[in-house]
């Protein structure tokens, strides 16, 4: 099966610090790949390179057979990669439904004249867009909160709203940066459920997560990063039993 996303020898450094070095990642269509690693391992830097926020210094990123290395983040999004952020970056003073509507940007004509004249075609697409936004809010379980400012939503719902906003761009690949961070076990379970349903929509998902339970339950494959380098890449079981991973991530086992 051909890969949806593939990176070859990807590298990025800040000054002398090699944040990401020669990462070879591949994501197949409709697959959930998790990236784990200790803090500062370069997971978010890798995401920022993939989504065009950083320009990688080495290697290349191929998405749907097209080279997207170093493209700016709005172009990357237009190719079909959407993302959420580790520190939630919603549009705080917009309502939940408006946040999702912003995500639809790339499917909408930006010709101002139909907007001025409120032509019937424009109104149809606007209504269809609103309909779609409400469906997405319902999908992530936010339908009751459509008209609340994003800032005033509870934390867990803000994470869900970020996912809905990312879905509105109709991505092929979704990058989720710690979607279950700071959640209690119940909320984390709900998030696992949501990610499972996302896969049902035919998306491929690249996931950064610290909750081992979440990672092991839903991932098809897991990549372990440490100091910017890949130390293991394989199915959850392979990774779990890899001595290098245990060493780096869980610490050396002490037999006292």
């Amino acid at each position: 099966m051909s890969s949806l996303l593939e990176t070859e020898d990807l590298g990025k450094s800040f000054g002398g610090l090699k944040a990401v070095q020669s990462v070879n990642l591949s994501v197949r269509p409709n697959e959930i790949v998790s990236i784990i690693g200790p803090n500062g391992a370069g997971k978010t830097t890798l995401f920022n390179c993939l989504s065009g926020i950083y320009k990688p210094e080495q290697g290349k990123i191929v998405f749907q057979r097209q080279n997207i290395t170093g493209q700016s983040s709005f172009r990357v999004c237009r190719r079909g990669i959407a993302r959420t952020f580790q520190n939630i970056r919603l549009f705080a003073e917009m309502t939940a439904v408006d946040n999702v509507l912003v995500g639809q940007f790339r499917h909408r004509s930006m010709n101002p004249f139909p907007m001025l004249l409120r032509t019937s075609g424009y109104q149809e697409t606007e209504n269809a867009g609103k309909q779609e936004a409400h469906e997405l809010l319902e999908f992530v379980g936010l339908s009751k909160h459509a008209n609340i400012w994003a800032r005033n939503l509870p934390y867990g719902l803000q994470r869900r709203l970020e996912i809905a906003r990312a879905l509105a761009t109709r991505p092929r690949l979704l990058l989720l940066d710690e979607p279950a961070a700071g959640m209690n076990p119940r909320e984390a379970d709900d998030m696992v459920d949501l990610i499972g349903r996302l896969r049902g929509r035919g998306l491929a998902i690249l996931l950064i997560e610290h909750h081992m339970k979440v990672v092991m339950r839903i991932s098809d494959r897991v990549m372990v990063l440490d100091h910017g380098e890949t130390i293991a890449f394989g199915t959850p079981n392979e990774v779990r039993n890899d001595p290098k991973v245990i060493n780096a991530y869980l610490g050396k086992e002490s037999n006292n």
């Binding site: 003073e93 912003v102 459509a146 400012w149």
Partner: protein
């Protein structure tokens, strides 16, 4: 509380120390003897503070209102006052009726009030235009008056080159030229993050004004007058002043219509998204630079149209129209009214234009503060500081902020 009073007292003391040599002392030059003597100049200091009395009154009134609001637990008193109007304004017939009523005013006002209304309309167009960049897109623009002066000069110069040029022939070109100018000014600095646009537009405004003062074609400091052929011809049955009023009113309604529709469209949502979080907006597929440039160009184009109306109204343009003071005044209107709110920009421009105009003729004010008009900028400044402290979202919060109050959807 004690800490606040202490820091306030320290602030006042510091101000007194710094201002002491300028306000309370003067230099006595003895040219024959070639000596300079420092002498106290109490009159000057007293006059200064006497003139400041209106500023203190305004600050006190604001603070008092804020205190009442808190003491009486009033939630959003202004928005509540306006919510009745908001219900009416949602009706489909509201805008045509309002337009009719405002146009009707032409028969009930004398020339003086018509003149005030015309200038107020011109400020309203500018405030609504500036609100696009400052309020909706979150880009600070300081030299907005340059685009206003550009529109005025563009028509004044064009009617010299093309004798008999009429305003409506020039208007589309001035609109487009103003937008292009904004685009060019914005291009280098909107690619960068941060408030470079503020500095660049400030510099542009100052250099534009100097340019107008020093070119031959713009008449230097004297400015240019419109030739009789290019001046407004009165509409049938109306005097000249009345026709100007009708014209400006139509333009205000037109600009508000355009801005409102764009604001509620995907483009407007994009602007607000950029204001809220640029990185996230880019990650959602929004070409941030292009949308910012569009916002800035549109706002510059409206300023140019306001300038055209100004030169039609006054029949004359000189470099003072592009003064820094003008830019600050329009900015103050937008901030006072509420960033991102069209109604707020209209209200802010009405308040900040009309209040000084009416105060100017008031005997009471002249008695307590003889040089009141010299202190206008100081008053704007103090209003802005007080607003930032007690009501940072302006008199009317933006519409999107009001949407937030939806009792059924509150989380339980």
């Amino acid at each position: 509380m004690v800490a606040r009073i202490r820091s306030f007292a320290l602030g006042v003391l510091g101000l007194l120390v710094i201002s002491f040599p300028f306000l309370w002392l003067k230099l006595d030059y003895n040219f024959a003897g070639g000596t300079v003597k420092i002498a106290p100049n109490l009159q000057n200091g007293f006059d200064f503070f006497r003139n400041l009395i209106p500023v203190f009154i305004i600050v006190l009134v604001f603070a008092l209102l804020n205190w009442i609001k808190k003491a009486a637990h009033l939630e959003r008193p202004l928005n509540r006052c306006f919510s009745a109007i908001a219900r009416i304004s949602a009706q489909p017939w509201f805008r045509p009726v309002l337009l009719f009523l405002v146009l009707d005013g032409v028969f009930f006002m004398n020339d003086k009030y018509l003149g005030l209304a015309i200038m107020m309309g011109i400020y309203m167009i500018q405030a609504v235009g500036l609100n696009i960049t400052v309020g909706m897109t979150g880009l600070l623009v300081i030299g907005y008056a340059a685009f206003y002066a550009f529109g005025a000069y563009a028509f004044a110069v064009a009617q010299i080159k093309i004798p008999g040029l009429l305003w409506w022939e020039a208007a589309p070109f001035i609109f487009v030229a103003g937008g292009l100018l904004g685009w060019f000014i914005g291009l280098p600095c909107l690619r960068l993050r941060g408030d470079y646009l503020a500095i660049v537009t400030l510099g542009f405004a100052e250099s534009f004004r100097e340019l107008m003062r020093n070119l031959n074609i713009t008449g230097g400091d004297k400015g240019i007058g419109l030739s009789p052929a290019s001046q407004l011809t009165p509409l049938p049955y109306l005097t000249l002043q009345q026709s100007k009023y009708v014209l400006v009113t139509l333009f205000v309604f037109g600009v508000v219509f355009i801005v409102r529709r764009i604001y509620r469209s995907p483009i407007g949502r994009t602007w607000v998204a950029i204001r809220e979080d640029e990185t996230a907006a880019a990650a959602m597929g929004i070409p941030v630079v292009r949308m910012k440039l569009f916002a800035f160009a549109l706002s510059a184009a409206f300023a140019a149209i306001a300038g055209l109306l100004y030169v039609m109204h006054v029949g004359f343009i000189d470099p003072a129209a592009g003064a820094f003071e003008q830019s600050v005044m329009v900015l103050a209107m937008v901030i006072l009214g509420g960033l991102g709110s069209i109604e707020g920009a209209l209200l802010g421009s009405a308040v900040l234009f009309l209040v000084p105009e009416f105060l100017r003729d008031s005997d009471f004010l002249l008695a307590i503060s003889p040089n009141f008009s010299d202190y206008r900028l100081l008053i704007f400044g103090s209003i802005m500081v007080v607003m930032m402290l007690i009501r940072p979202q302006g008199l009317l919060g933006s519409r999107r902020r009001q949407l937030e109050i939806n009792p059924e959807s509150q989380p339980s």
